[in-house]
Each structure stands twice: as C-alpha cells, then as structure tokens.
C-alpha cells in the first residue's frame, strides 16, 4: 500500500501556519456556525437561505483557503480536494439561492442527532484534539478546517426539514471516509476517529430519515 506523502509533524505544522495566517477567520467561523444552529432551533423566514449560505461559505473557504492555498504545499491531491469542496460549496449556494428548504430542530432521533453532531463539531472535536496534543495553533478549527466542518454539515443536514437530500451528503461522506481514515490510520490523529465514524453514522441517519419521509408521503397519498 502506498504510504502517505507527509508525516503528522508536517500536517500539524501546516495547521499552525494556516491558523496564524487566517486569524481571526476562526472567530468569524464560530459566529457563523452558532448562527446556523440557532436558525435551526429558532427558524426565521429566510433562515434556510442564511444557513445554506453559511455552509456554502465554509465549504468554499475550505476548498480555496485550506486545500488550494495551504494543503497543496504538501499534498498534490489537494487540487482534487479543492475542486470537490468547491463543488459542495456550489451545491449549498444553489440551495441558498433556491430558498425552498429550511432547517428546523425537531425533538426526534434525527433532530437530536443533528444537534449533537453540530455541538460535537463546535465543542467536543477541538477538546478531543487538545487532549490528543493537537491544541491551538495546531488544531483543525471548526468552519475553516475540513474535519469539524464535515461533522457540522452532516448535523445540519439532519435538521433539514422534509426529505433528506442525500446528494448533499455524498462529498461529506467520501471525505470522512478517505481523509478521516487516512488521518487516523496513517497519521495517528486520534480525534479523527470521530470524522470517520461520524461520516458513516451521519450518512446512515440521513438515509434512514429519507426512507421515513418516503414512507410517510406514501402513507398519506
């Protein structure tokens, strides 16, 4: 099996440089993330548009600022990752412009799971990283780094009203499997077990939610 092109030392050093370069974008990202969760908890008329715009901004930022402008230094594959993240950002932008879907927390399995995923990305993931010795500035920070952004995205999609749009979860799932797996198995970034498992669990819940929605629609027809 072909080995990874860089070490954990390089990977964490890259995050340190990235975080210092983009500061205080991390603070803005946290603000936007909290806003998106609040819009799901207390829906507004344009809440769906705003939350999708936030997700779009996160993914585009990760594609351009992280993958293209930083990660590409040490990994040629980052060019492809940048394209995928930009595509996901464009899909969310289209949803924001379309304005037909809204986020709403419901106290069911999907709503609680979604909220858990979001809070995990905002609070628990950085804590796990800190415990694993990857605290600031070497941390993968919510909204501006792929791992917590992917977990957050799946959480938000679980709180989306109506049928779960699986096409919006494909890239997050692929990323969580590929990058989460590589980070854990190749670099020993233990907190990324949550990305790997979260991707599988989140996508599985979305599939379940979609099936439930389809069953309800069929029963009412």
């Amino acid at each position: 099996m072909r080995s990874f092109p860089f070490t954990a030392e390089t990977y964490l050093s890259l995050f340190a440089a990235y975080n210092s370069t983009i500061w205080p974008a991390q603070v803005v990202a946290y603000g936007l993330g909290i806003l998106a969760v609040l819009l799901a908890l207390r829906p507004l008329a344009a809440g769906g548009c705003i939350a999708f715009a936030v997700l779009s901004a996160f993914w585009l930022w990760n594609g351009i600022a992280y993958h293209l402008m930083h990660f590409l230094q040490v990994n040629f594959a980052a060019l492809g990752f940048a394209a995928l993240f930009a595509l996901q950002g464009a899909l969310f932008a289209a949803m924001a412009i379309g304005g037909r879907r809204s986020f709403r927390f419901r106290p069911d399995a999907f709503g609680w799971s979604g909220l858990f995923f979001c809070l995990f990305a905002l609070v628990a993931y950085p804590l796990l990283g800190w415990l694993a010795g990857h605290g600031w500035p070497r941390a993968a920070v919510f909204g501006v780094a792929p791992a917590p952004t992917v977990i957050f995205t799946l959480g938000m999609l679980l709180m989306l009203e109506g049928r779960a749009p699986l096409h919006l979860a494909v890239i997050p799932l692929l990323w969580s499997l590929a990058a989460g797996g590589a980070a854990v198995l190749r670099l020993g970034i233990l907190e990324d077990w949550s990305v790997l498992l979260g991707g599988l669990l989140g996508f599985g819940l979305l599939v379940w939610k979609r099936r439930q929605s389809s069953a309800i629609i069929a029963a009412t027809q």
Partner: protein, 307 residues
C-alpha cells in the same frame, strides 16, 4: 550510450573496491575512504549512499522543520554523500532541498536527481523547469520519468535535453514493485542511463530479472525504499545484530541493510530517506568499511529472513 559488456560489468563491480581506495569524497569526518560505484554509461563514480526525500522532506514552509532538514543535508554532505533524489510528487520536498542547499557550508559536488511526473510534453517541460528553480541549480545531473507516467512522451524530451547538455543523464523510476513488466520493456529498448526501483533484503524479486538486465544493458541502478519506509528497521531493531556483522563493519541495522543492497554488483546507489541527523549518521556509516561478498550476502539474507 555505452552498453555494458560482461567485461565492463565486472570492471564496474571491481571499481567499487578501487573507488574505496580513493581519497575521501568531500570533507569526511574520518580518514577512511568512501565507497563509490561507476555509472556504467560514463564511468563517473558516485558514492553508493544517496539521500531520498519522499515524505521526510515534505515539511511545507515550517522554518524550524526546514532548518532541521538542512541539518540532515549538512550531515549527508559532511559524511561524503552526493546524490539527492526528489520529485514534484513529494509536495514541498524540492523547495526544502533548495532551502537546504542554499545553507550548506563547504558543500562538495551535488549529484542532483530530479523527476518529471505529469502528463504531456509541455507540462513536463514546465515542471522540470519549476523543479530546477526549487532546487536552485543550473541543471539536473539526472532527470527521471517518475513511475513511468507518460514515459514515451517524456523520454523523447529527456533525450533532447541530454543532447543539448541540459541534463547529464536520463532515467526512469518505479517503486514498491509496480509495473516491473513495463519497466523491463523500457530498459530493453530505450537508451537510458539510470533506472530506479525498490529492493531490500526481504523484497528481492528484482534479483531475478531487473538487476541482471540493468547489468547487461549498462544501466545504473538507484534503489529506493531500502528499509520499506522504516518497517524493516522497526522489525529488526528488537533483535541483536549478528556477531559476524563486524566482519563487514556494520555497527547497526541500517548499515547492515544498506550494505546488503549496495553490495549487489548491479546496484549503483541506494537512497534511504530520513528526517533525523542521528539516522543520517548511521546510514552514512554504510559508505565505509568492508563490503559483503556473495557468500556473506547469502548469510545476511538468511539471517534477516529469520528475524
């Protein structure tokens, strides 16, 4: 290209011993001569231990890590090293090499081995020029087609560059046992100076066809992955060196494994990669002292297989 006859091949192998009697290359910390082998197509001698940069030199822009790699390079040159190998595929490694070369004190001659790793002629030419700038050198000594990628296009470009004096040697590489069939075909029909592939005391498949073919065709051999990216060292380090390792002047497992490789008559040079100065010092120890003969090589292989 001068193809290797049996007579010149034997001479090349014997040259290893002859080179060892030459004065030390560069600023050797010891008076003991270093081991060199001849590039068959020209007879130019190069030290048998080079420096690989896969993973280890891909440290991005981190100033501290770059300085640490420059120290590894300094040790490499101080101990008599010359050939450094890299590729655009290795992320920031080429830029880190350039950073290090600009800071090496009293640097002896560098033998620069670059690679082209892309599709299409234009992209290949641009990539090689970018690599040259990263390294901060006038020209590459050796330019290789990496992993056979679009090799039929790039080999033509490399032949032109060699004819124009823009590169001294040309070659082709693979690793981890990939595409050996294709590599063998290229070695048979193309006038290349170098070939690179993986070989170590456990993975010895290349002894069957590729190494004899390289000898027959007069192609220098660079060996990559001598430690299976550290796996072999990790496996061996829990066991003591055999007492007879002293007969070939091996003080540690790195030297044991490297001397096994470079003592193969068809191997010209091996390129272990490291990010640590102490490991570099261990590796460069294999550049000196007695080399195993065929009988000793067999003994080494049997011992390693049972560890």
């Amino acid at each position: 290209m001068n193809h290797l006859t049996r007579r010149t091949f034997v001479g090349s192998v014997a040259g290893l011993g002859a080179a060892a009697t030459l004065p030390a290359f560069g600023q050797s910390p010891t008076a003991e001569p270093i081991l060199k082998k001849a590039i068959p197509s020209t007879g130019e001698q190069i030290p048998v231990i080079g420096l690989g940069t896969w993973i280890t030199f891909n440290v991005g822009n981190d100033e501290k890590l770059r300085a640490a790699r420059a120290q590894v390079m300094q040790t490499f040159f101080d101990r008599g090293g010359s050939l450094i190998d890299s590729s655009p595929m290795y992320g920031s490694s080429e830029a880190v090499i350039g950073y290090g070369l600009a800071r090496i004190k009293n640097r002896p001659a560098l033998f620069s081995a670059g690679k082209v790793w892309t599709l299409l002629k234009t992209l290949g030419v641009n990539q090689m020029e970018a690599s040259r700038k990263y390294w901060g050198i006038e020209r590459f000594d050796l330019m290789q087609v990496h992993n056979l990628l679009d090799w039929s296009t790039h080999i033509q470009t490399l032949k032109e560059m060699k004819a124009q004096g823009r590169v001294r040697y040309i070659g082709i590489t693979t690793s981890q046992g990939w595409r050996h069939g294709g590599l063998e075909e290229i070695m048979r029909i193309q006038p290349i100076d170098f070939v690179a592939f993986s070989y170590n005391i456990i993975d010895r498949e290349v002894e069957e066809r590729l190494l004899p073919l390289a000898a027959e065709r007069g192609i220098a051999v660079i060996v990559n992955r001598p430690f299976q990216e550290g796996v072999l060292i990790d496996r061996m380090k829990h066991h003591p060196l055999p007492p007879w390792a002293g007969e070939i002047d091996c003080a540690n497992w790195a030297q044991f494994l490297l001397k096994f490789i470079v003592s193969h008559p068809a191997v010209t040079c091996v390129i272990p990669a490291t990010r640590r100065v102490d490991h570099m010092e261990e590796n460069m120890g294999a550049l000196r002292g007695r080399m195993p003969d065929a009988k000793m090589r067999g003994r080494m292989a049997r011992y390693a297989a049972n560890v």
